[in-house]
Amino acid sequence: MSPGRCLLVLATMVSAMTAVPAHAETIQITMDRLAFSPKEVNASVGDTIEWINNDFLAHTGTARNGDWDVAVPAEKTVTLVLKKPGTIEYYCRYHPNMTGRIVVAPK
């Protein structure tokens, strides 16, 4: 096999391998002036939520059903991979008036 042809085969194999799993998305939820934004997002199992805290206050993203509890220090970003499907209502434990919802579709 010529080197060129060999590369082509390799490239095809690589692209086939990467195309197999559905592409997981990263969804950003911002914490700004004591509110989550957007307040509701749609996601799928395997997606990553990027919690971006723009406030000078510490916050959390805490699922009411107990699935997850993410502490997000002031002016930091923390990620969470969604592992279970469902409609998750969440809030900030430190500021319970901050609420939101993530609708997680099965993979």
Partner: protein
């Protein structure tokens, strides 16, 4: 509690109302910064007393929230006055708040158990009501610097949450 509440209101009225006889009718930004910062320091001290004395899970969680948030707001306030090159200025309202807070710390230091928890949380409800009222009616409208005003507005939102939280804890203790 009521004595402290009315005295705090009186102190704030003194600043705004008493100023009628003076050249300006409202507190200046350096005075506002001092009052807001003092109010935060007072609540952190009260929370630390609660953390040292209370064994109640809800009371302790509330006190931890107070330390975390008020320290964060005050750090932001210090950064802002530094940036604006403003020196916070002591005044009658700050002194009034501080005096009553010191008396309250002494009063609460004589209590323990459920009596302490109730007194601490009831005072937190009253204190946040007073401070939030002052922020809404005097401090925010009087602030001339936009960044200071914005910080006070964020503070008010945080402290209104504290007031609700304190009311919730107070109801649970009844």
């Amino acid at each position: 509690m009521l004595v402290r509440l009315s005295a705090a209101i009186a102190a704030i009225c003194l600043l705004s109302g008493g100023a009628v006889a003076q050249s300006t009718a409202k507190p200046t930004d350096p005075q506002i910064a001092h009052i807001a910062y003092t109010a935060g320091v007072i609540d952190v001290a009260a929370a630390k007393q609660a953390l040292a004395r209370s064994k109640n899970k809800e009371v302790r969680a509330f006190a931890e929230d107070m330390v975390r948030d008020h320290e964060a707001v005050n750090k932001q306030a210090l950064d802002l006055v530094k940036k604006l090159k403003v020196t916070p200025e002591d005044n009658d309202t700050s002194r009034g708040l501080q005096k009553q807070a010191s008396a309250k710390l002494v009063e609460l230091s004589k209590l323990s158990g459920a009596a302490f928890d109730r007194a601490y949380v009831d005072n937190e409800v009253a204190y946040h009501k007073t401070v939030n009222g002052a922020l809404e009616t005097v401090l925010i409208p009087s602030a001339s610097n936009a960044e200071l005003k914005s910080l006070l507005q964020t503070g008010l939102k945080v402290f209104q949450g504290h007031e609700q939280h304190a009311e919730h804890v107070a109801a649970a203790l009844k």
